[in-house]
Symmetry: C2
Subunit: 225 residues, 2 copies
């Protein structure tokens, strides 16, 4: 049995869910709040954060903490379908892009939009700051321009094949899309890319996520948006 | 030829330098400021941050951006000596700890101590905020307790062998140590562990780093401190 502690709109939990789906590895999802971790989660990860994968399929329990560790672990235990295909140079570029979204997009977009609109709400931290939201939207425009430039040069973020780079980018962007902040029409290459991703079976469960009292934007789950 | 764009007191640049040293791969260091990247660095990494490794030893130039990508790349092209030895479960624990220092230690310690005492100074951002420094020192105490607990349970951060977990932790802690904020005497297991690390040939060049106008604490380079 495999168990994944996750929170539905946490971009890192989403990376783990998509990767498990791509590898066609079944798992039992366990909901855990990053701002109020259960004792179970704290015992598995002293940082108290999802995602944590507990893999009991080979005898003892293997505990894998943090999205990056989970992604590399899944690639090791089930190499096919490869999420980091190609040469060491290809994998370096894939990992650069994962790092780009996990650090730069997180600091420049999530820290503004996800924090103000989502995290403050679920944690009852007060009203969103409109200045911060405006700044986050500015940063998002720049990031979408960068995504389009990559897609036009490569037909895929790190090349023609679907990789962890696409997966990580989609996990982050899908959380922002839930909030309705992605003006897809203005970014045709990104829109076409995200349309293809929305059709992947690994991605479908994410489109069914609903936060109580906080509906997604109307087009969030539409495959043709 | 290999070239590493780095900044001496950037914890991620230090990870790359130690890893290259451990793998006994020669490289030419190129100094680059994270707050004022050269055109060369920007052309290699649009995020403008060191470390970036340019590996021209096998014909074309392979550009590897970001510490995590560099560490995994080096492990792929030169597996021995292994920095992630063991099973997939062992590597998951090593990667969890690298993530711990890169995200949690960074947010809770570097963002306070390195930012207030070092980054503000080199970037001329004004005087350090003593409240922030006090908070950073509180967080650091908690992190050193955690390091000691791991070392007492395992004789090495992720187990008895030297791994990327030790390397990442030492890279972060060594920057804080330059500033004189680590009260090693109060943490005997961490002190013994760091003494052994200071003796590694891969670590010696870091002990020779000196920022102009900002000398390290007296014991910074002492092997017996």
């Amino acid at each position: 049995m495999r168990r994944l502690h996750h929170w539905p709109l946490d971009p890192w939990s989403r990376q783990a869910r998509i990767a498990l789906g791509e590898k066609q590895l079944e798992f039992e999802p366990v909901l855990d709040r990053f701002w109020d971790p259960s004792d179970d989660l704290l015992a598995l990860n002293p940082a108290g954060l999802p995602p944590v994968l507990v893999d009991e399929t080979s005898g003892g329990a293997i505990v894998v903490v943090e999205a990056r560790a989970i992604l590399e672990y899944l690639e090791e235990i089930k190499p096919e379908p490869a999420l980091m295909p190609g040469s060491p140079a290809d994998r370096a570029e894939i990992r650069r892009l994962v790092g780009w979204f996990d650090r730069k997009f997180d600091a420049e977009v999530n820290a503004y939009l996800l924090h103000e609109k989502l995290e403050k709400r679920v944690q009852a931290l007060g009203a969103p700051d409109m200045e911060m939201i405006r700044a986050g939207r500015d940063h998002l425009r720049w990031h979408l321009d960068y995504v389009c430039a990559l897609l036009e040069a490569r037909d895929g973020l790190a090349g023609p094949r679907w990789t962890l780079a696409d997966l990580a980018a989609a996990a982050h962007l899908s959380c922002i899309d839930y909030l309705g902040d992605v003006a897809w029409e203005q970014y045709p290459p990104a829109k076409a890319w995200y349309e293809r991703i929305k059709c992947r079976p690994s991605f479908r469960p994410l489109l069914e996520d609903r936060l109580p009292g906080m509906a997604p934007v109307t087009w969030y789950a539409d495959l043709d948006f």
